[in-house]
């Protein structure tokens, strides 16, 4: 083939790759633009402090839903973090066994199970036996989504800790248990905290697994045994409603949610960067 045609073809394709980046950034820019412009203008003090007004009345807020989301992700974190970290420790310490490979594979598969399916599971596990939607059920559903993320992050970060630290501890006569909990784990801790933050950010935005576990609640509730409101489900309810004022509040809710997630992921980024610098320094 003619060299000039080949070069032309190469340049066109490289340009198309650049175009692909632009194509992906357009929806990102549009979403952020609308969430910020529609959401920020709809924000007011009442949005954070009040609960929803009855249908047809203008005003009110999502105070209860914001608290609800915080409660739900706290339950999820309390359940998933210990399980995830201990599983991660096992994978990092005894990673070569067939059992470990199976766990690793299953964790990755679990990570890809649709959130709505996990919602059904939590419904059968927690809601059905007592015949009541509850904050606990929502927390369990979110925890199941969080476990594989925490497990895999913990494993990867423990592996990053220089083996000299572990060998040093073992040489001083520490058992593997002691070496892990007093030397290796503390060294990896900032990274693990990052992983937990990223996982929390991800589940904070989940809606589907809450629809029939935590359900929704238009009133203040902090009871784990009662249905509880959440930002995401509240946004969903308002977005598909016919009321103008509810649409406004849905955008405000989306703004708060996106800000929460961005803050968590930027925080995670900062921790990672500090870790990298520390590693380079040593």
């Amino acid at each position: 083939m003619n060299t000039r045609i080949r070069l032309l073809k190469s340049n066109i394709i490289v340009a198309l790759c650049g175009l692909a980046v632009v194509l992906a950034l357009i929806p990102l820019a549009m979403i952020l633009f609308y969430v910020i412009s529609h959401g920020f203008s709809a924000l007011n003090w009442a949005f954070f402090t009040q609960m929803p007004k009855p249908v047809g009345e203008v005003g009110g807020g999502m105070g209860n839903a914001i608290v609800g989301t915080l409660i739900l992700i706290s339950i999820a974190g309390a359940l998933a973090v210990p399980i995830g970290i201990l599983s991660g420790i096992h994978l990092a310490e005894y990673g070569g066994t067939p059992f470990a490979s199976t766990v690793r594979f299953t964790a990755d598969v679990l990570n890809g199970v649709p959130s709505i399916v996990i919602g059904i599971f939590a419904y059968g596990l927690v809601v059905l036996p007592v015949h009541r939607f509850s904050a606990l059920a929502g927390g369990v559903a979110l925890a199941i989504m969080m476990i594989p993320i925490v497990t895999r992050t913990t494993e990867e970060l423990l592996r990053l800790v220089p083996s000299g630290l572990k060998e040093g501890a073992l040489a001083l006569g520490a058992t593997r248990t002691r070496a892990m909990f007093t030397v290796i784990l503390p060294a990896a801790l900032p990274g693990i905290v990052t992983g937990v933050l990223v996982a929390l950010a991800r589940i904070a935005g989940e809606t589907a697994p809450l629809l029939f576990t935590a359900f929704n609640n238009r009133y203040w509730s902090t009871s784990l045994a009662q249905p509880i409101g959440s930002l995401t489900v509240q946004i969903f309810t308002y977005a598909i409603s016919p009321y103008e004022d509810w649409h406004r509040q849905a955008w405000a809710g989306a703004f708060v949610l996106v800000m929460m997630i961005l803050t968590l992921s930027i925080l995670a980024r900062l921790v990672t960067r500090r870790l990298e610098r520390m590693n380079r320094g040593s």
């Binding site: 980046v21 890809g112 399916v117 497990t151 649409h247 949610l257």
Partner: protein, 313 residues
């Protein structure tokens, strides 16, 4: 003493790791148990029936399967070239200063919650799509892809929003795979007089297995995506080719009707849909992981060979 201590350490942590396997097995078991009524009553007919009428107790799931498969297929058709383009651009073309910010920005697409995509879909994307649909020339209207009234909501909107949501997953893995392709593959191509694209094609060929894994990972995401699709697809169970037709997906029908399912058979029918969605995504994700891992293992093997060679020299 110390040994006993370490043994219980190993066993206790193994117990927690085992929990992950039990969870996945438990999901499969529980979903099967909760859908027995529907499985026994309808058998295979459930999957080829097209009537979904809870009032008269008729449950046919074909429209939902169709909606899920068709929307995911269309989404991949859009997302795959774009995601690969991004991976290639970031890895092979972009100046190194732009690499980190571009990576961060494209990954931000994955951080935006599904519900926010849905909200944006309803109030921004749908009106735009409706305008575009109104511009479809009459000559195309008889074409099966473009029949029906221009509603805005429908298969086209769902596929488009799904594509955007899938892009970051595919491009992130594809980028990692490309990064793992040894530099000498490209150098060899350049040495033979290849153009830039021809060298990239060599790298893509080397990473083919992993790239297919990356695309399948995206497929797994698209199949299970719920909220954004529910909000823009129109929620109408029908099997149609048209991009303008409102349709329905497996995940969406569960999200919409689960709390309304008054009788047990209805609930079991919905959970059976969930069970199949679970099985499909497990297979797709499992295969995707195996492909990506086999690629990574090949990489690891190559590195050991290379270090051995270096030791010999």
């Amino acid at each position: 003493m110390a040994r006993a201590d370490d043994r219980s350490y190993r066993n206790v942590t193994a117990l927690f790791a085992l929990l992950i396997i039990l969870l996945v097995a438990g999901i499969g078991f529980e979903l099967t148990r909760q859908s027995l009524l529907s499985i026994q009553k309808f058998g295979f007919g459930f999957w080829i029936g097209t009537t979904w009428d809870p009032v008269s107790g008729q449950f046919g799931a074909l429209p939902f399967i169709w909606g899920t498969l068709y929307s995911s297929f269309l989404a991949l058709l859009i997302s795959t070239p774009v995601a690969l383009g991004i991976a290639i651009f970031i890895n092979e073309v972009s100046p190194s200063i732009l690499r980190t910010p571009l990576t961060y920005l494209t990954e931000l697409l994955a951080a935006i919650p599904s519900i926010v995509y849905g909200l944006w879909g309803i109030f921004v994307l749908i009106p735009i799509i409706r305008k575009l649909e109104l511009m479809i020339p009459d000559s195309l209207k008889s074409f099966p892809l473009f029949t029906g009234p221009p509603l805005g909501v429908g298969m086209g909107a769902a596929a488009l929003i799904l594509a955007v949501m899938v892009i970051p997953f595919t491009s992130a893995v594809a980028r990692e795979i490309l990064k793992g392709v040894p530099i000498n593959q490209r150098e060899a191509a350049y040495a033979l007089g290849a153009t830039r694209w021809e060298a990239i094609r060599v790298a893509l060929g080397y990473g083919k297995t992993g790239i297919i894994g990356a695309i399948m990972l995206g497929l797994g995401r698209a199949l299970g995506e719920t909220m954004a699709v529910t909000m823009v697809i129109g929620n109408n169970p029908q099997v149609k080719l048209s991009l303008l037709a409102p349709q329905y997906t497996m995940a969406a029908v569960i999200a919409n009707e689960f709390t309304e399912a008054a009788d047990e058979l209805y609930l079991h029918a919905l959970i059976e849909i969930g069970l199949v969605l679970f099985l499909i995504t497990i297979i797709v994700n499992g295969l995707s992981r195996l492909l990506i891992w086999s690629m990574a293992r090949r990489e690891a093997a190559r590195v050991t060979v290379a270090t051995n060679e270096a030791a010999v020299v």
